[in-house]
Amino acid sequence: MLVDSDAYTRSVLLEALARRGYEDVNVVSSALELPARLVATQPDIMIFNYQSDKPDSLSACTTVKLMRPQAAIIAIVSPGPALKEVRAWSQQTQCIDVVIEKPLSDERFFMTLRDLLQVKMSLRELQSKTQRLSDLVPEGALSAAESSVDAEGELFEAVVLFTDVRGSSQLIQRMPPRSFFKLLNQSLSAQSGQIRQHQGSVIKYTGDGLMAIFRDTGKSYVALRCALELARDSNNQELPVGVGLAKGLVLAGLIGDSTKAGQRRQYDVIGATVHLAARLCGMANPGEVITTESINAVAKLDSPAPRSIGNVAIRGFNRGIDCIAFKPSNESTGVHE
């Protein structure tokens, strides 16, 4: 985008840009036009030709930074007092990225423009890659990969949720594999959406289900609400799920071998709580949630009514666990007032 209030210098700059292959330039002649133009465009760079007799035109830079903070601003300024004023203003507002002195008699302007555009393009590619990558890995994995203390892992309290399709072995025999695959993806997408809506993080997909964690304040309540929604949603689906929930300490971090090139690591959350949640999920019937009495006591949900299963012996645990089952109907779940 080129912002220049002088028709002559505007046309000169535009011609010079076109000669260098910059054809797609949005030209703005007045700062007043800017807001409307910025609604429709997302410039990578704004070239601002400062006219010394129009000091108020600096507001164009503020407008761009406010509406398009990712855009870099190159200001072309006359030397002398105008340059001092613009530099002082720029230091104060942090709105201008590069100031280039007039007259534009060397390559500096185009070198700066090219460099800034390259940086912008690289940044966009990186953001796009990060977005694609973050779709493939669990939330927290990227920051764990960048962290220098990832070898230690992170210990924290969380509610762990597992879902699993009930009767999937029979289903996959009944329907074409591609249809089952499509149906499973639809179900997992819907489940992931519910978990995100409840501020949970999907850690991994486990074949016919998934594993997620909730670690924010009020996690017992939020996770149980989420589990009930998942169970209820699956009631009328071809792939009904059972859901298991458990709360306790978990360890999150990168698991695998990082010492040899080509070896693979993956982000995971481990601990006894994870095993317990998986076992409870395994016990759940289609459209049912099984959780611990401790989660139920903290969540205090008003409906649906919990059904006590009693003290259940869980494989791998020395003592029995007091368990509760919920079978939500298609009416919404409520909270105890």
């Binding site: 002559y8 000169v12 260098r20 400062y50 007092p81 007259p103 185009f110």
Partner: protein
């Protein structure tokens, strides 16, 4: 130091002579601004000794002379090129000349 052109007038010439030919009038303007800054710097320099004062005075005096010369030069250049010396607007004939390739 006497100034024949004020800062706004000089800035206006530079703003318009952005890329014209070799932007020569703008280069002269730029030199004038630099000389003014150099003069101002000398005026603000601390004089710890008589020797210091002599140094700064010598530089200031030469700067003043150079500034006068460059202002004369600018005046002559603007006259040759046909600039309006009241508004400091670039003449239309110059605007029609092809700009120097940046």
């Amino acid at each position: 130091m006497k100034e024949r052109f004020n800062a706004s007038q000089i800035s206006k010439v530079i703003d318009q002579a952005l890329v014209y030919q070799c932007a020569c009038p703008a280069q002269v303007c730029r030199a004038i601004f630099e000389l003014r800054e150099l003069y101002e710097y000398q005026m603000n320099c601390a004089n710890d000794s008589a020797n210091d004062q002599q140094v700064h005075n010598t530089i200031a005096l030469s700067t003043e002379k150079a500034h006068e010369l460059m202002e004369d030069c600018l005046s002559r250049v603007l006259e040759i090129e046909g600039w309006d010396t009241t508004t400091f607007n670039m003449p239309e004939t110059l605007k029609k000349k092809p700009a120097k390739e940046l």
